[in-house]
Symmetry: C2
């Protein structure tokens, strides 16, 4: 029941990107350096974010990535789902009407899985990237020394 590094690194990377891409595209190597993430691994994460339409890439020298959408229209849910696939801890076909549930009357636990899935999705969807970027900017002012992050 853990969020993998894909989601954790990826969200941090996108917050970083949002902050630094206002003027020019941001390269993978610069994000990787600032965030302490493997360049090669981050490359794969950015590919997923691109495929999901959250970032645009600019190839060639001086290239990099920029957000593909307004920073306030991107939710944490968008980011995490792009990277982790579906965030639902239980894949229950009964929850997706089109699939149909093989249990005749529906299972007892369906209700539980539904509530969990809903609460996670709702939580991550209501946090938008702009808020995190603001907070990150504010924190940089107060930051004296030491790490900006702790692996999460």
């Amino acid at each position: 029941m853990k969020l993998s590094t894909k989601g954790r690194y990826g969200l941090r990377a996108l917050i970083d990107l949002a902050q630094y891409s206002e003027i020019e595209p941001v390269s993978i190597s610069s994000i990787a350096a600032r965030q302490g993430i493997s360049e090669r691994y981050l490359e794969q994460l950015m590919a997923k974010l691109k495929k999901a339409g959250l970032v645009k890439s600019i190839r060639g020298a001086g290239g990099g990535y920029v957000l593909a959408r307004e920073v306030e229209s991107i939710s944490v849910g968008d980011v995490l789902r792009a990277l982790e696939g579906n965030l639902e801890p239980v894949e229950c076909s009964g929850l997706h009407p089109e699939e149909g549930c093989e249990a005749a009357g529906g299972c007892v636990t369906k209700y539980v899985w539904q509530k969990i899935n809903e609460s996670i999705n709702q939580t991550v969807d209501e946090i938008k990237l702009d808020r995190l970027v603001e907070e990150s900017k504010a924190m940089k002012g107060k930051q004296i020394s030491g790490q900006m992050h702790c692996g999460n």
Copy 2:
């Protein structure tokens, strides 16, 4: 970001146990048969539930398990945490004050992980076992044929 079979099977098993243990202790083999779970695997899950103080065991012939607490005092959260360990998708030391966070000012994403953790815990803690047992009993009446569950 998936709930493992430990949590999924275990919750089903405990609902089953709650239903059938009103008169006499319920054996692992009978739960396993009804729920279509490996007996040997379920044994390990029950050990965890026992260690967590959710069930009591009665050894020897005619023995089995019974709930250790009132059915209405056991939450889905109690069950899932007993089986899965901690349900929090992100282990963030900054969220547990006694541990302290290695990032100087705390990380930006801490807020996100906190919200996710809270929403999951809140959701599973407010669903109590008695409600699921009631629902299960009600469903058995309507059940005509076919599976009672779908693997979740």
